[in-house]
């Protein structure tokens, strides 16, 4: 499903973010990526949907060879992966339902199918009554749920999330986590970078700990392992 072999990443300014990362994530897994700030978690995640390119090493996601992937084919990869961002990345001029529908419009789905899927995912994230609102009129947790709905709409086999609860209060964070649990229970692979100790320690899942650009710990039903 996701495989990295000896992946290195040096940013153009010389910052070394990853140093020889190798990992394999199988279908249906739920993986937390933890580690101190600046450890390389976001970089690790961005490589998977090709927001960043590896400096060295090979990466396979859903059968796509990321370093060989042609510029033109990147959208194809991204359509198979749902990405949930810490800052939501919602289109400010579009309503909730337009934001969610966008991910289906890009594949030129029929309006009927789009309407149907949008209703389904908005119901799943509990935002049916906010469908016609602009993102700016929603709370942080609601915006995050919109971004999850958008990530889900293509029925991706993987959802990648970078600190999806980073901007949310504890209670809302738990709502969001329950949503991820539910999505994972349906067989969707989830990779999530997080600083949320309580969540990692309570919902015991595989934990990848990253420090200084290297994976220093890989535990089956792991714990957070850092003081916040």
């Amino acid at each position: 499903m996701i495989e990295m072999h000896d992946v290195w990443k040096t940013y153009p300014n010389g910052a070394v973010a990853l140093q020889g990362v190798s990992v394999r994530i199988d279908k249906g897994e739920f993986v937390y990526v933890v580690g101190p700030s600046g450890a390389g978690k976001s970089t690790f995640i961005k490589l998977m949907y090709r927001e960043e390119r590896p400096s060295k090493g090979s990466i396979f996601v859903n059968g796509f060879n990321i370093e060989r992937l042609k510029e033109r084919k990147i959208p194809l990869l991204r359509r198979q992966i749902g990405v949930v961002f810490q800052d939501f990345k919602l289109l400010p001029n579009m309503t909730v339902q337009e934001n969610v529908a966008f991910a289906l419009e890009v594949i030129e789905a029929s309006p009927k199918k789009i309407r149907q899927r949008v209703n389904e995912v908005l119901e799943l994230v509990g935002l049916t009554d906010k469908a016609k609102d602009l993102p700016a009129h929603l709370s942080g947790g609601q915006q995050q749920r919109v971004s999850i709905a958008r990530a889900l709409i293509n029925n991706p086999s993987v959802i990648i999330a970078d600190e999806p609860t980073g901007n949310l209060d504890p209670e809302t964070s738990w709502d969001i986590m329950r949503l991820f649990e539910e999505i994972n229970n349906r067989g969707t692979t989830i990779v999530m970078a997080t600083h949320n100790k309580e969540i990692v320690n309570t919902l015991k899942r595989r934990v990848l700990a990253v420090e200084g650009g290297q994976i220093v710990r890989d535990q089956k039903r792991g714990v957070y392992g850092y003081e916040n």
Binding site: Y49, E51, F85, K89, N93, E105, V106, E108
Partner: protein, 293 residues
């Protein structure tokens, strides 16, 4: 691309116009100002061009036939002149009709010419016009070599001065038009660049959610086209009213009649095309650098 996607891009382009109200207004204003300038200049340039053509077309040369040439030889000369490809027209003026013309010119003073009928001092002549008046000098040199040609006269000094003036005006006009077009492109694409820079986050998000470059470009392209076309509306309206008003008040200048009001329609077509084209190019150029993600 499916038809409904084209529709979607069109709707999206239109909505972006109203969503980005002030930016749209700023871009349209930039287009309006430059196109107005360009339009005024195009009208002016065309009229100057016509005026100079008219001046040029008045340039002609007189070819005087040698004294005592036989009738048949004059006809032969006429045939030779007519066969010259550089000439647009060849008119024969016999010494008799030359005198008549002179009498007409002098009118009541024609009595001065009395008695000349018997011993007409005027030579036979041909009046020639060159196809390209600018080449009249070389044509004259060529004609001079023909047998029976006595003298060729085309007001060398005056004509050369005239042509110098005309080409100066023409060349500087062309430079100015090209310069204005580039200024327009620069100004418009810069304004669009600013509006798009404000929306780079949106473009980035669209890319991250799996949109292809063209899926993102199309609405921007349509938006740019509309901005350019809308920016042409006011200049076209002002120029149409302005030019027809000018024609109604000053239909001519010296002996020159200003180009008919149809000219405004051609200029309008040019303006709206340039506006739309530059709008599209400006949009597509400006977003390309944000698509690299």
């Amino acid at each position: 691309m499916k038809i409904r996607t084209i529709g979607r891009h069109g709707r999206e382009g239109l909505r972006n116009l109203s969503r980005n109200g002030w930016m749209t207004f700023a871009s349209i204003s930039a287009v309006t100002v430059t196109l107005l300038l360009l339009g005024v200049f195009l009208l002016l340039a065309y009229n100057v061009q016509q005026f100079s053509k008219q001046l040029e077309s008045q340039v002609e040369m007189n070819v005087y036939v040698k004294e005592g040439a036989a009738r048949a030889d004059v006809l032969e000369l006429e045939r030779q002149l007519k066969s010259l490809p550089e000439l647009a027209s060849v008119t024969y003026v016999s010494k008799e009709s030359g005198l008549d013309q002179l009498k007409d010119k002098l009118q009541e003073n024609a009595s001065l010419l009395e008695g000349l009928d018997k011993e007409n001092p005027l030579p036979d002549k041909f009046i020639l016009k060159a196809k390209d008046p600018q080449l009249i000098g070389s044509v004259a040199a060529k004609v001079q070599t023909l047998p029976l040609v006595d003298k060729v006269n085309y007001g060398k000094d005056t004509v050369e001065k005239l042509f110098k003036g005309i080409s100066l005006v023409r060349n500087s006009g062309a430079v100015f038009v090209v310069g204005l077009c580039f200024t327009a492109l620069f100004l418009i694409s810069n304004t669009i660049k600013v509006t798009i820079f404000a929306r780079r986050k949106e473009i980035e998000i669209m890319k991250l959610v799996g949109a292809t470059n063209w899926f993102i470009r199309w609405p921007f392209l349509i938006e740019g086209l509309l901005i350019g076309a809308l920016g042409a509306v006011l200049p076209i309206a002002l120029l149409s009213f302005g030019y027809s008003y000018l024609l109604s008040v000053y239909p001519s200048f010296m002996y020159f009649n200003f180009a008919a009001v149809d000219l405004v329609y051609s200029v309008s077509t040019i303006l709206i095309s340039i506006g739309a084209l530059i709008g599209m190019i400006g949009s597509v150029m400006s977003i390309s650098r944000f698509l690299r993600i």
